[in-house]
């Protein structure tokens, strides 16, 4: 993984973290409902864990698959999936459905996993994960068995991404909770969904061009 690759993972992590639909807003709501900042802080780790699971699953699959198929075929397929998913996110009017609001930590993690998966958070990392030729990472080149090591790299990528996501969500949740207040939502909550869909499609196109 190159420095640019890691930087991209962090940047996408921040992008995911600031999206209110990915969990920081839920953490703020829980904090306000309970009247305690502690409730807010305790909500974020399960949310991050759910995000990690969603992103990590995609990353591990991609990196593992790459060792058994040609990278070009994978990149083309991945790019097409991304563009298609982005288009679907842009055009579909369907809303994520989740009925309950009083969730245990495990349910909160499950909510986050589903929310991240439904939004294609992991897919968005595809161009970063695919840009790295198999086995080329320094220190891993000597290993004969590519798949397990590749999967570990993928999980490392997911972890770095999630740490960035967690930091961004934490910063935003605390800022809104302590300083800005929720009134800011009405002005500043621009339509992330459209931007999100656009980023998905750009990621797909980048992947296809590099394929």
């Amino acid at each position: 993984m190159t420095v640019a690759g890691w930087a991209a993972l962090v940047a996408l992590g921040v992008f995911h973290g600031v999206n209110p639909a990915m969990g920081w807003l839920f953490a703020v709501a829980r904090g306000l409902q309970e009247g305690s900042q502690r409730a807010l802080l305790l909500s974020l780790p399960p949310i991050a864990a759910g995000h990690l699971a969603s992103v990590g699953l995609v990353a591990a699959l991609v990196v593992a698959t790459r060792s058994v198929t040609t990278s070009t075929a994978l990149a083309v397929a991945g790019g097409l999936v991304l563009v298609g998913f982005g288009l679907w996110r842009l055009l579909s009017a369907r809303h994520f459905r989740w009925a309950g609001m009083r969730l245990s930590s495990a349910q909160l993690a499950a909510w986050s996993f589903l929310m991240s998966s439904a939004h294609g958070a992991g897919l968005m990392l595809l161009p970063v994960l695919l840009v790295d030729p198999p086995g080329a990472t320094a220190g891993h080149a000597a290993h004969p068995a590519g798949a397990p090591v590749g999967a570990l790299t993928g999980l490392g990528a997911a972890a770095v991404h999630t740490v960035a996501m967690f930091a961004a969500a934490l910063a935003l949740a605390l800022t809104v909770h302590r300083v800005l207040g929720l009134g800011v939502l009405r002005r500043a909550w621009f339509n992330v969904d459209r931007l999100w869909a656009a980023v998905l499609m750009v990621a797909g196109l980048v992947t296809l061009i590099h394929a």
């Binding site: 209110p20 994520f96 009405r186």
Partner: protein, 468 residues
């Protein structure tokens, strides 16, 4: 249809909603009792700086006849900001308008001209029956995961059970019945919730045959109308608890939970106590891990000369208050109670919900009193304050005078007429004063009767909030 920034009429908290600019228009459900002409959504000008203030400025006939409009609601509201499934960039734009008698659901678009809503979709009774198994749709609430629509009757002529149908947020198609397990619930009427606490509440009126040809005296005296409210788990869609008020307390109707999502209480109005014709308002609240109700307001019947009473009431020699609607201000401070029989709107300070303090009263109409509106002091009024709607900032209260076609005819047999009034509120001290400039009535409504009012941008009974 999505926006780049959240719909400006969505508010994270009740406090934000109360600070929003005042409504400029009101939408009123109007129906023709004889079903000779179509029902309509009527648009009133509520901007005091407008030349047309207090006048009908828009009129949309529905495509069919005989709907009997009653309650209606918005496609989306502040609950769109709720964090589990946020979709803040949809628009509060469509009015979902059920026909209580026809079981037809009309969808009106308030864009591009909010004064001339257009009918964009009609869902027939057969779709509600086939998909959800219900008929006689009533209350509409914009939920975070769909539009909730209560219904009084079952499908294909079945009396019940009534229940809740879910409509799709965007297509408005009927998705199905909401209940996974309805327990002992059979009668239905109103529905609302404590959204952040995963609690849904329903109330009870009667089955179609118990209401559609008028109130049935024998059934009432036999205490067969609803007298319980039900609590449900909003997440699992299961019945949790039935709380019986006592079978003398007939017809607990409108449910008004606190708007502050941290509070776990609400109010329900009861039409009549068959033992003494009084009406009452009850508070629901938590009691350990169960729900309980406490009667917090009781309004006695007023003695009257039987000669001046309709047939139904002659034997009793008294006018029952008939509390048929209540409404709670967005800041949860004032509760408004409609006494449709005696012709009075009362205001209570419910800062301490267990101990309401009456702070205001306005008399209009009434079965015996026929109190005129101060803007037309020579004109006795029929009907009484019935549907009551409170503006977001709590400064203005709108009342309309019809209850329900067949019941209007029983309690006001010489004609219920049609009028709306607006009352100004002192939000600090309380108190109600009729606005002399706002009294649309009579011919303005072209022979139709007026029921629920919805305010542009949301009102006290339309929105739920996920943040305190």
């Amino acid at each position: 249809m999505t926006r780049w920034t959240p719909d400006p009429t969505f508010h994270p908290s009740p406090r934000d909603a109360a600070n929003a600019p005042p409504e400029k228009l009101a939408y009123v459900a109007a129906f023709d009792r004889g079903a000779r002409r179509p029902d309509a959504i009527v648009v009133l000008d509520t901007d005091p700086d407008s030349a047309d203030y207090g006048q009908v400025v828009g009129w949309t006939d529905l495509p069919h006849r005989g709907d009997e409009l009653h309650h209606f609601g918005w496609n989306a509201c502040s609950s769109a900001l709720c964090p589990t499934a946020p979709h803040p960039h949809v628009e509060r734009r469509y009015l979902i308008v059920p026909g209580l008698r026809s079981s037809r659901i009309n969808v009106l678009d308030t864009r591009p001209d909010p004064r001339q809503p257009r009918v964009v979709k009609v869902i027939g009774p057969e779709e509600l029956a086939k998909r959800a198994g219900y008929s006689r749709p009533h209350t509409v609430h914009c939920g975070p995961d769909g539009i909730y629509l209560s219904a009084l009757g079952g499908a294909d002529g079945a009396e019940g059970p009534g229940g809740i149908a879910i409509l799709d947020h965007t297509t408005f198609e009927v998705r199905g019945a909401w209940e996974a397990d309805r327990g002992p619930q059979f009668l239905a009427y109103d529905v609302w919730w404590h959204l952040t606490q995963d609690v849904l509440v329903t109330s009870e009126w009667g089955t179609p045959s118990m209401i559609e040809d008028g109130i049935v005296g024998e059934l009432l005296l036999a205490r067969r109308y609803g007298h319980a409210i039900h609590f449900w788990d909003l997440a699992t869609r299961r019945h949790v608890q039935r709380v019986d008020l006592g079978d003398q307390y007939q017809m607990p109707l409108e449910l008004r939970p606190a708007h502050d999502p941290r509070r776990s209480h609400g109010f329900v109005g009861v039409v009549i106590n068959v033992e003494d014709l009084s009406a009452s308002v009850w508070l629901w609240h938590r009691d350990g891990d169960r729900w309980a109700v406490t009667k917090v307001i009781e309004i006695p019947a007023e003695p009257a000369d039987p000669a001046r009473l309709p047939e139904l009431l002659k034997p009793f020699g008294a006018v029952p208050p008939l509390v048929t609607d209540i409404d709670l201000s967005v800041d949860d401070r004032f509760l408004y109670v409609s006494c449709w029989g005696t012709g009075e709107l009362r205001q209570y300070d419910v800062s301490d919900p267990f101990h309401p303090v009456q702070t205001g009263s306005v008399r209009l109409g009434g079965i015996v009193a026929r109190t005129p509106h101060p803007a037309a002091p020579d004109q006795p009024l029929s009907g009484g304050p019935q549907m009551v709607e409170v503006s977001r900032d709590g400064r203005r209260v709108y009342v309309s005078n019809s209850l329900y076609g067949a019941w209007d005819d029983q309690f006001y047999p010489d004609g219920v007429g049609a009028w709306l009034a607006k009352l100004d509120v002192d939000p600090q001290a309380g108190g109600l004063t009729a606005d002399l400039r706002f009294f649309p009535h009579g011919e303005q409504f072209r022979g139709l009767r007026v029921h629920q009012t919805r305010l542009q941008g949301g009102d006290a009974s339309s929105d739920s909030y996920c943040f305190p």
